[in-house]
């Protein structure tokens, strides 16, 4: 089985789908001849030509707005927003238009647009190249939000997204775009949306993460194990819809839960997870659920390393939970 990084896995998924379905087109800034600033669309322009791998004018609202019209007419557009931080000029097109088209038209106009965008910090990118805006989009009825953490999931989930009929925000962890490597099947496969992965089984604490934070969770679990603490790591993969059954199965077993995310704490997705868990599994909880998150500040540049959650902080939270 070939070893790929996340960029290669995304590229592979796009190429496979474009070969299978002539309706699939890619559009965005620099996605054509250049192959994307992160190279995710590398080689696609050469294989499929400029009408299916479209270098757009530089305007996010135009990229998403035109992608919507393409999808309504019958194409399967996969627009790229170069950085998650640049998505906000297209916020109205995504929130009021894309996400609502099926509903507001009484089911007449499904709008299968799959928006790919890199997210997260740790690349010395400052405020405009580091944000994790998932909560804003999870809070948008009609939109699915997918956040893979590794090459295998990235390919299988992206293929699954491109073969269903709802709009999706597909968030890619840019910090580990190349650092995360793993075996990826060569041919076709899909992973079910809405299902988490238990990336490391454990018994004492459930640690929930997604996207770039899964690697921190794994690192934490390894450190915890060395300290004699058994941590079960859940990679949510799909944030909307999220796998409540998978979460509850783990939390009912461990009785303790820590949630890890990069985005600011207040109204972050962790808050929703805590509410959902305690509504259903209060009697299984041995301690309050805690969060290790980004702070309620804009994403800093020089002090990025202090802003980002790390394994030591997560381990601290796990110990607190165990000692409660």
């Amino acid at each position: 089985m070939p070893v790929m990084n996340i960029i290669q896995a995304v590229n592979d998924a796009l190429r496979l789908q474009m070969r299978q379905d002539p309706r699939t087109v890619v559009l965005g800034e620099d996605v054509g001849k250049f192959g994307g600033v992160f190279r995710a669309t590398s080689g696609l322009y050469e294989e499929f030509g400029g009408e299916r791998v479209i270098d757009t004018p530089l305007a996010e609202a135009g990229i998403i707005g035109t992608a919507i019209g393409m999808a309504l007419y019958g194409l399967r557009p996969v627009p790229e927003i170069q950085f998650g931080d640049f998505i906000f000029p297209a916020f109205d097109q995504i929130v009021n238009e894309l996400a609502k088209f099926r509903y507001r038209s009484g089911g007449q106009y499904p709008c299968p647009v799959i928006i790919r965008t890199p997210v997260g910090g740790g690349i010395r990118g400052g405020h405009y190249h580091s944000q994790s805006p998932e909560a804003l989009f999870i809070h948008t009825p009609g939109l699915k939000v997918i956040a893979p953490s590794n090459p295998y999931d990235a390919k299988g989930l992206l293929l699954a997204c491109m073969r269903q009929n709802d709009p999706v925000l597909f968030m890619e962890p840019k910090r580990i775009y190349r650092a995360s490597k793993g075996e990826v099947p060569e041919g076709d496969y899909t992973l079910e949306l809405g299902k988490l992965a238990v990336t490391r089984p454990g018994t004492q604490v459930t640690l929930i993460a997604w996207s770039g934070m899964v690697s921190i969770a794994e690192e934490t679990a390894a450190k915890a194990e060395a300290a004699g603490i058994s941590v079960e790591v859940l990679d949510l993969r799909s944030l909307m819809p999220f796998d409540i059954d998978g979460i509850l199965a783990s939390v009912r077993k461990t009785g303790r839960c820590v949630i890890l995310h990069e985005a600011p704490k207040t109204c972050g997705f962790g808050a929703e997870l805590i509410a959902s868990i305690q509504e259903r599994a209060m009697e299984h909880l041995e301690a309050p659920i805690t969060r290790v998150c980004g702070f309620d500040t804009p994403f800093p540049y020089t002090l990025e390393h202090e802003y980002m959650p790390n394994a030591d902080r997560v381990l601290g939270a796990i110990r607190q939970t165990l000692e409660w």
Binding site: R23, V25, E51, R52, T56, P57, A59, A61, G62, I64, G65, T66, A67, I68, G69, M70, A71, L72, Y73, G74, L75, P77, P89, D92, Q93, N96, E97, F101, R102, Y103, R104, S105, G106, G107, Q108, Y109, P110, P141, G142, K144, Q164, N165, D166, G194, M240, P241, I244, D245
Partner: protein, 370 residues
């Protein structure tokens, strides 16, 4: 202020009395097409009058009339049914011309169980995918890049369909106007932009939207032709629309059409223009009424008589009365339908919320209109 005659770049075929102007080229439009347009223009006027009265009686929540602007709706008339239309919210004539029924129109206004959009949107936000009329959105301008996307999609898919998109002159101030026209110019997308310049964006006059002399002139910046047309002159509207559609279909790219017209009454049922504009201004425009001009023209051509028009008015009044009566006895959409169509398949959390709501006592609507 409203010197239509002084604008030498304005395409006109008919004078204010509906006579063909000396030297004007008359577009080649079949008699039955002209009669059908007059028919649907009459329907719009009857419908607007009836619905506004219902709104004033407190029986309808909201309405938007288009009196004085009806001719602009029929820029859609030269389109094929496979072409796509992205309307704004004031093109009722385009809906009726393409085949949207009085009953569907009324059912949407009342959001009842037969509403094609299942009671999901406030009045005048129609959607008809079987007519390639795209769901209307309230935030202005969002439909512009979408229409460009559909237009370009047709080109990519090797079809020769055209997209036409409507918006008001106020919308030319939005980012989406710029974005949409810019993408269309670069892509040579087969898209026709209809800027319905009715002089007013609610209370804000066109002078406060742009320092440009005309809205059509903005096309220059996007590398496409900009055509200014007397939007109350049905023949001129049909002519410039046909030319722009032909250009688009032939692969020659997009066109911006500024249809100069006037919003004779309020923006919507919630508006009161007497607060912000000179009451004499509408009077000038009433003399240029598109329906009167078309009636005069048809009369000159021997295509109109009083009995025919009265017959249309009577028939449409009756059909509206019937549609209202049917709506009165039609229940609202079932409560559980609120949870449909968010996604193709209902996810667990919405299923759970639906089950919870269905277990609650029903809440009576405080907005009972019928």
């Amino acid at each position: 202020m409203v010197a239509v005659q002084a604008q030498d770049d304005l395409r006109r075929v008919l004078d204010d009395e509906g006579r063909v102007l000396p030297g004007a080229r008359v577009p080649d439009v079949a008699d039955d097409v002209l009669r059908n347009i007059f028919d649907k223009m009459t329907l719009v006027r009857v419908m607007d009058d009836r619905m506004m009265r219902l709104q004033r009686q407190g029986r309808l929540g909201f309405y938007m009339k288009s009196i004085g602007e009806e001719a602009t709706h029929f820029a859609t008339a030269p389109l094929r049914m496979s072409d796509w239309v992205y309307p704004s919210y004031r093109e009722q004539g385009a809906w009726f011309y393409r085949g949207y029924t009085i009953k569907q129109f009324v059912d949407q206004l009342f959001g009842n169980a037969n509403d094609p959009v299942k009671g999901r949107q406030m009045p005048v936000h129609h959607s008809a995918n079987w007519l390639n009329l795209v769901s209307i959105s309230s935030p202005v301008g969002t439909q512009i890049p979408q229409a460009v996307g559909s237009a370009y999609a047709a080109k990519i898919m090797g079809k020769d369909d055209v997209s036409m998109v409507y918006f008001g002159e106020g919308t030319s101030s939005t980012g989406e106007f710029h974005v949409g026209l810019n993408f269309a110019g670069v892509w040579k997308a087969p898209c026709v932009f209809i800027c319905r310049n009715n002089g007013w964006a609610i209370s804000v006059p066109r002078e406060k939207q742009t320092a440009a002399k005309t809205f059509a002139s903005k096309a220059v910046g996007y590398g496409m032709p900009g055509i200014r047309v007397d939007g109350n002159d049905i023949l001129a509207v049909l002519q410039v629309a046909q030319e722009a559609i032909d250009r688009a279909r032939a692969g020659e790219g997009p066109t911006l059409i500024e249809a100069l017209t006037y919003r004779v009454q309020g923006h919507s049922s919630s508006d009161d223009p007497s607060v912000y504009r000179d009451p004499k201004e509408p009077e000038i425009w009433e003399k240029r009424d598109p329906l009167n001009r078309m009636r005069n023209y048809l009369t000159h051509r021997g295509l109109w008589d009083q009995a025919w028009e009265q017959g249309l008015i009577d028939r449409y009044n009756q059909e509206i009365t019937d549609a209202l009566a049917a709506s009165d006895v039609t229940p609202p959409p079932p409560v559980e339908s609120m949870f449909d169509d968010v996604y193709e398949e209902m996810p667990w959390h919405i299923r759970e919320q639906k089950a919870w709501l269905m277990a609650q006592a029903r809440t009576k609507s405080p907005h009972h209109h019928g």
